[in-house]
């Protein structure tokens, strides 16, 4: 087990190194950093001096080593556009995106898993057909259209909920949270639903497919032939086995949540990392793009580690194989 965790840790380090390399290549080879940092009036001599000072003439490996160690020390460089430290810019945006993503993920799990189970257990029911049709439409409607529709209905027509921004936030030592004010929660509802809908349909269809697969398996047929009560059959035997693959996918979905938060944040003008990334693309602000990638990859690695640990807890086959 320790070996398993260690292996995953090493893998994670390599993933982070690869992403850092990607970010570094972006910074180094897409456009010229010097011409981005300086104005037109800077003389060629000054530019060359700056190039030397920043070490851009050093060997590639040395530059990459410096880039990585700087990042580890929390020095992420400066934005071409705002001239501010990228680290600070991103850090101030992290709470908004994470809170949005977590609430969206919760919505998708709380609704998606039960409806997946239901539709798997009653494959021919009318409610099942209705749910399946709805999810197909849900997958087909782009996230931004869902956002627009929600804004139109609850923001414009009914006027119940705010349609942009985070509303009231409370600063908890650098972490601004929406969770502590009614206003913050109200502003969070529409974006979180928008972001959650797609994940919800994915979760539901996945749980349904896995559950149907499990229900056909020999051990469920055997348990049925032994007269195990249906409640236990469905929720103790089948559901646990369903969740084993589902958990992995939910971990992977976190990436989807983060990516689609770019769209959601754009529709709702939600001041998170996604909006910042979008602006950085529009203005070719390479350092911000690179650091965004590194930060996202870091969260991704963290979530996947958590998923692995969860796996160990659920599936005895992965634990130490002592002879019985």
């Amino acid at each position: 087990m320790a070996y398993f965790i260690l292996k995953r840790l090493v893998q994670s380090v390599f993933v982070m190194l690869a992403v850092a390399f990607l970010a570094f290549s972006l910074f180094r080879f897409v456009g010229d950093p010097i011409s981005q940092m300086t104005g037109v009036e800077t003389s060629v001599q000054d530019q060359d001096r700056l190039r030397e000072e920043l070490g851009l003439n050093d060997p590639f490996v040395v530059q990459f080593y410096r880039f990585t160690t700087d990042m580890l020390r929390g020095d992420f460089g400066f934005s071409y556009r705002t001239r501010q430290p990228v680290g600070d810019m991103i850090a101030s945006r992290i709470p908004a995106t994470l809170e949005l993503g977590i609430v969206a993920l919760l919505i998708s799990l709380i609704v998606g898993i039960p409806s997946g189970v239901y539709t798997a257990l009653r494959p021919r029911g009318i409610a099942t057909q209705a749910i399946l049709m709805t999810t197909l439409v849900g997958v087909s409607i782009p996230t931004f259209v869902i956002g627009i529709a929600l804004i139109f209905l609850f923001g414009v027509q009914l006027g119940w909920l705010p349609t942009f921004g985070r509303g009231g936030t409370v600063d908890l030592g650098g972490w601004t949270t929406s969770f502590l004010t009614v206003d913050g929660w109200r502003a969070l509802i529409l974006p979180a639903i928008t972001l959650g809908v797609y994940q919800l349909t994915l979760t539901m269809r996945l749980v349904r497919a896995e559950m149907m697969e499990v229900m056909r398996s020999d051990y469920i047929r055997f348990a049925t032939a032994r007269g195990i009560p249906y409640r236990s059959l469905h929720y103790r035997h089948a559901l646990a086995n369903t969740m084993v693959p589902v958990i992995t996918i939910i971990g992977l979905q976190f990436g989807g949540v983060i990516a689609f938060s770019i769209v959601t944040e754009s529709v709702f003008q939600w001041p998170g990392m996604g909006l910042l990334f979008l602006e950085s693309i529009r203005f070719v602000d390479i350092p911000v793009m690179g650091v965004y990638l590194v930060v996202i990859a870091f969260f991704f690695v963290l979530v996947n580690m958590a998923v692995d640990l969860l796996y160990l807890a659920i599936d005895p086959r992965l634990r130490v194989k002592e002879a019985a």
């Binding site: 972006l26 409607i141 782009p142 992977l252 754009s266 793009m289």
Partner: protein, 300 residues
Amino acid sequence: MLARLLRSDGVYLFLRSPAAIVAALVAVLVVGGAFAAPWIATSNPYDLASFSLMDGLLPPVWQGGDPRFLLGTDDQGRDMVSSILYGARLSLTIAIMAMVIATVLGVGLGLAAGYFGGRFDAIVMRIADVQLALPAILTALLIDGISRGVLPASMQDDLRVAVLTLAIALSLWVNFARTARASVFVERNKDYVQAAMIMGQHPLRVMLRHILPNILGPLLVIMTVDLASAILLEATLSFLGIGLPADSPSLGTLIRIGMQFLLSGEWWILWVPTLFLVALVVSINVLGDFLRDVFNPRLR
């Protein structure tokens, strides 16, 4: 031949599935209309001379608009019907090209990876893994961002469509590659492939003649689903203002423009292209779902 087709499972199931029939009708109508746009649209939204500001913001006919403009006009006086037909044409062109590139690239790499195995396989699959972890939209955004940094400013607008197509294609190839590779592993150990290889057939020929035909079914399903994804990706990128410039509007751009009228009364400028896009993608996805059921009888 025709009689055999009519007796096949696919046709039988198709005629039993009202959803698939309706979806096929909608898809054919939309795609046909889009590609026939130059001939059936009453005006050309790219041609400044063919519309007039005087006709601006006219509502659809049933809300007392002008009979010349069935679904009303936007603030510039462009006919909404013509706009969405041309927009859909652009969206579909990009999506189909992207899908074709992704198919050829993905299937080619997948077959090669599965066939040759070893280091080549490992490299291709590592890249595929990384891409799978990165959602398609992030990949496409990144490629777009890089192109902005690399291409000179003068060429950027001209190459917009190509960049967008490539960005979408490069974010969709993974599914094809994985499917192709997996089936190579299944098929290559079967007697008939072994026989063909022992007979000394060229690897390329073995792949194309023996292995490829076995994955046409699943491939068709992925192509359908990925066509829908490509359309959605293009629409999303254009909506974010990353994709196409506003003077050659695709469906996504039209929706982006329509957003400005969300708060005012001109609902049609937003909802006409939106509903059109949704109808197109829903019908393609319904068809994809249907094909999946046909090719995977176990889920029926």
